[in-house]
Amino acid sequence: MTTHTPPARTKPAGTRTAPRRPRHAHRAALATARGRTGLALVGVVVLAGLLAPLLTGHGPTDQSGLSLAAPGTPGHPLGTDDLGRDLLARLLYGIRADLGIIAAAVPLGAALGCLLALAAAAHPVLDTVVQRTFDLILAFPGLILALAVTAILGPGRLPVILVIALAEIPVFGRLLRTGILVQRGREYVTAARVGGTSGGRILTRHILPNTADPLVVQIAVSLTVAVFVEGAMSFLGVGVRPPEPTLGAVLSQSMPYLAQAPHFAAGPLVTVTALVLGLSLAAEALNREIRR
């Protein structure tokens, strides 16, 4: 949850790009085999989630008398769970729920972290306050934070989003602050300052563009972490309220049946693996390209 990406090498704003380097580093990164594989895995999972209503004729909470039906049962290609719910529907709608949560939580955490980092860059006193705030958040292990937030707000979608966002704030905040501090010492910033450019303009026009690359990589990494956090919270019973499916919740429900119905756990396990692997490959590809 606190994975940091090493800061990227900098390039002075406005300087010419080296000939061997593509103009859009991110696009180049995703064009690599690693990047493509990652994108393909993530794309398949995302598409499956988005097209859930078209891919299954069952509702994710519709129950039936078919308890733990095997894969291949007519009408239930992945079988059913203990309460007779279609596993394909629960898996696909679970992906939807997960994607909704991480798509809201990670950008929220990133935005708040970046805003706090900018505030920290503005004044030394604010810097101290923000850093100690980050220390405070980081002092809580992720799951303890999750349990604490859930104890206050009760289980549900909002607490999961808040926990993920809270956990990501210091990650993005520290990353951006480090980038700003590094860039501030560069000659091109000094030159801009000598040239009479205002502090605000230096920050937005010169410094921020050079600190953005690690943040892009960090977003990919944080999406991976968010999948884990959601899964862990649902697994512990403090995630999204039942009977709404999430990948973690379906996995948790399958645990008592690992011996008798392993297919119950297979769907969410494979999906989480594909999603995390895809995001990790994409993050790695971005990171490698940016560091070149």
Binding site: T61, D62, Q63, G65, S67, D82, L83, G84, G154, P155, G237, V238, R241, P242, P243, S252, Q253, M255, P256, Y257, L258, A259, Q260
Partner: protein, 530 residues
């Protein structure tokens, strides 16, 4: 004398075998006639059925929650150790007939206002102190103390006087006749009166039972060793017993399958199919009940204050599906709280509310509702969540949209006791396995004076009070029980779903295990064969 007997058909052959093997000495003069193992002998390995009980060995019991010393005198989720450390005055047999334990005989006064107990002689506590009538007096007074939070406090409080006739004869004088005094005797553990305050903090637990507690490691387990001076000669067989706390259901199952533990009553219904497929393990169900899943209704929350709405809910839930899908088929779908062994059980009552969503919708419509939105609190453990999800789905079919409120067990229990439940909740209750009057004067959901549903009715109070003070046999007693059942069904403030006794999972080499009505584990005759 005991117990929640196993329904396994071969339990009788187990008894027969034990009796034959022991030459009758197993039961001689010890008040054990009628004790039966919950473990199916037919499921034991070939050739072991006729084996002599073997002395020695350590039995490891996997429990899913730790012992809570502060609840030593209240029925809590984990009472297995009670009958290992302590004894009770009497024990029930299959037909709720009391059998001797530390009380060897008793005689009621004709007016039902006193009972004379003759107590067993030669019984000593683990510290060597002899057991006397003063210990019984202390035990009754102890349960009268509100701090002990004993569910049977009302019955203990009915004892208003004591007359000692020597060290081993005692007369209990009652304020009014009660018909559940032997429930109290089954429930009340006879602790050492000199160390009771240490007992409720878990520092020192001294009893007269077959095993002495040697160590309690909070969160990890309990260790017991054989009481060499136990009042039953040559008992117990086992050298030692270990309780190992394994909160996670899968880990608990693994500990049984790998032989790390040999006995558990905490395997969820969902896991029982795996146990059934494991050759080394046997499943036995105690059909005398002990617990029941129910849907509770807060009668002060509109529109649940209308009994027609509550009756609609009672018809909307598919009890058989819950039994099959969530509880692994172990239990009895029932609209009333009574297990089959209860004198209040009737088949008509059990099937009073069958799954009928059409009728439920009609009832709801007749009450002026086509759609309702209600909260439902449930314990956030997997089994309880599955029950809640099944209820939620069934109620949705009649237009009642339920929002689940997953809650930790401690908070749920607190809400239950303090009457702070939302419109609906689902949990499980006990106390229907003994005298029916006990349920209505002792169990929080049913208590006529103060129940979680906040249901009050002069008629309910009257019939419960009368049922409590009327002798337990006879036409009048039957009529009163029926009236209680009718009130529960008609008012539907507690909607019973599935009655479930303890389900025992044990290694097939383990024999002679029993439970009493309050799920106290009795290992007097238990042994590990082979």
């Amino acid at each position: 004398m005991t117990e929640l007997y196993s329904s396994t058909p071969t339990a009788l052959s187990r008894r027969t075998t034990l009796r034959a093997a022991g030459g009758g000495t197993l039961l001689l003069g010890l008040g054990l006639a009628g004790c039966r193992s919950a473990v199916s002998e037919a499921e034991a390995p070939a050739g072991k059925a006729a084996a002599e009980p073997r002395r020695g060995g350590t039995l490891t019991v996997a429990v899913n929650s730790d012992f809570t010393p502060s609840l030593l005198f209240a029925q809590s989720g984990q009472s297995l150790q009670h009958r290992l450390i302590y004894n009770t005055l009497t024990r029930y047999d299959d037909g709720l007939k009391p059998q001797p334990e530390l009380a060897t005989s008793w005689e009621y006064a004709e007016d039902g206002r006193s009972i004379t107990l003759k107590l067993r002689t030669g019984v000593t506590y683990h510290d060597g102190r002899p057991f006397t009538a003063d210990d019984v007096i202390f035990a009754v007074k102890n349960l009268q103390n509100p701090l002990r939070a004993a569910q049977l406090r009302a019955t203990a409080a009915a004892v208003t006087g004591f007359e000692k006739r020597g060290d081993h004869e005692l007369v209990l004088k009652l304020a009014h006749p009660v018909n559940n005094l032997f429930d109290l005797f089954e429930f009340m553990i006879l602790t050492d009166r000199n160390s009771v305050e240490d007992a409720v903090t878990g520092k020192k637990l001294i009893g007269t039972g077959p095993f002495a507690l040697t160590r309690w490691s909070p969160g990890a387990g309990l260790s017991f060793t054989r009481n060499e001076k136990y009042w039953q000669p040559d008992r117990p067989y086992l050298d030692a017993v270990e309780f190992r706390v394994v909160p996670q259901a899968d880990a608990l199952l693994s500990s049984l399958r790998t032989g790390q533990s040999q006995l558990s009553f905490g395997v969820p219904g969902k896991n029982l199919a795996v146990v059934a497929a494991t050759p080394e393990l046997a499943i036995s169900e105690y059909t005398t009940g002990g617990g029941a899943y129910y849907l509770g209704v807060n009668t002060t929350v509109a529109p649940l204050d209308d009994k027609t709405v509550r009756q609609a809910l009672a018809r909307a839930v598919d009890r058989e599906r819950i039994l099959k899908q969530v509880l692994g088929g172990y239990g009895l779908a029932s609209a009333t709280p009574w297990p089959k062994s209860s004198p209040a059980f009737t088949e008509a009552g059990r099937t009073h509310y069958t799954y009928d969503p059409g009728k439920a919708r009609e009832l709801l419509k007749s009450a002026g509702h086509t759609r309702l939105d209600l909260p439902l609190l449930h314990i956030n453990l997997p089994g309880d969540t599955a029950v809640a999800e099944a209820i939620q789905y069934d109620l949705k079919q009649i237009g009642v949209h339920v929002t689940l409120q997953p809650t930790d067990p401690a908070t749920a229990q607190k809400n239950l006791i303090s009457q702070k439940m939302p419109g609906l909740w689902t949990m499980s209750h006990g106390f229907a396995q003994v005298q029916p009057s006990t349920l209505a004067v002792s169990a929080y959901p049913f208590n006529e004076a103060k129940n979680t549903s906040r249901f009050r009715s002069a008629a309910y109070t009257k019939v419960v009070r009368e049922a409590w003070t009327t002798p337990e046999t006879g036409a009048r007693a039957n009529a009163l029980r029926q009236q209680i059942t009718d009130t529960l069904l008609d008012e539907a403030f507690i909607i019973d779903l599935v009655i479930r006794g303890s389900v025992q999972v044990s290694a097939k080499k383990l024999h002679g295990v029993t439970l009493n009505k309050f799920a106290y584990l009795n290992l007097d005759d238990a042994y590990l064969a082979g």
